[in-house]
Symmetry: none
Subunit: 211 residues, 2 copies
């Protein structure tokens, strides 16, 4: 049973190429293709595809907006972005919007079939440069220098609860210890983090990802 695919791509030559390329395989069935996303919601509802190939740069609604719309009605359909851009902004916006893969157009002929297989198998096909971008974006989040404040496990646990908005009382109740014990731990945490209030501690904990 072939996999149903729909395509959104404004360049009619490329659109035709994609259809032909996929038709050759026999495994994939391009049930529809469109030059824009004006009625993307209806199209997806009507065709219920398993895979969507989505160009980013299109007149009217661009591919990223379209992905957001699709995700409001179908969290499961696999979406692969096709694009000439490999700059951060577009990649991350697309990923955040809910795309499952991101393929540069220059690799389409080589990699498209493989990429479709990969999203269907639960992967996230990306061009190498895209993958590197995603990784370095993750790494930026946390400084490599390990900010080690020598918190004990118990202290980390309490800091975690504190960071979630719990009061001392709630923490005491949660951990089945007395309020005073919580206080003692908190005092030590403040000492170790070099802060003098809850907010500073929570702010530090969250921004340095100690929790």
């Amino acid at each position: 049973m072939p996999v149903n695919i729909i395509i959104f791509e404004d360049n009619s030559n490329l659109r035709e190429s994609l259809v032909n390329l996929l038709a050759l395989t026999g495994d994939y069935n391009v049930v529809a293709s469109f030059p824009d996303c004006t009625t993307v919601i209806q199209q997806v509802k009507e065709w219920k595809p398993e895979v969507i190939l989505m160009d980013i740069d299109m007149p009217g609604i661009n591919g990223i907006e379209a992905v957001k719309k699709i995700r409001t009605i179908d969290p499961a359909v696999q979406i692969i972005m096709l694009t000439v851009f490999d700059d951060n902004t577009h990649v991350f916006e697309a990923m955040y919007a809910g795309a499952n893969g991101y393929l540069l157009k220059k690799y389409v002929s080589d990699k498209l079939i493989h990429s479709i297989r990969e999203v269907l198998d639960g992967g996230a096909p990306m061009s190498p440069s895209i993958a590197r971008m995603v990784i370095s974006n993750m790494q930026k989040g946390i400084p490599i220098a390990d900010n080690d404040y020598q918190l004990t496990n118990r202290e980390k646990e309490i800091l975690q609860l504190l960071s979630k908005g719990n009061s001392f009382k709630m923490i005491a109740a949660d951990l089945c210890i007395s309020l005073d014990t919580v206080r003692t731990h908190i005092k030590r945490i403040y000492d170790k983090l070099h802060v003098r209030s809850q907010i500073e501690a929570v702010s530090k904990a969250i921004s340095e990802k100690l929790v």
Copy 2:
């Protein structure tokens, strides 16, 4: 000119296999290999490899700790993690630590050569399931629904100061308004964010990137 590689892998069979596999190609030169990471810093300094293959689960210092150490002395060397784990924790820890790629051992024979090529070309080789994990982690980071709590500019300003660890008094002093005014603003902020304390507000503000 062949690419210099060193390997850290405690399983001696696998270590030998890796050496042999890479030797066959002629493009890669395994200059050294070790069963543990006790002297990882010295080894890297001594051999100056372009690529490091790093097992995660090793006696003594594990692969993730080793990556952190390596990154303190060499931000450029390409590190590919080799592992049987494909759970979130290990993947993310390794990525945060500074790894450039992450290869499940079951794919080693198929993908290792290709993966090494890919890191050298500036990519980030990952098994499909790993890539999917990384992407869904990114998507979790920023909720798609835009969290608009209709805070006024003044309220945002105060929330920001609060999140930086300022007390009400300090905020009042900073903005040249009375303490009571700060209180009033804070009350409104709590209402709008549906929270009932500083910590909850700050926690929400930081984690939802309102500040």
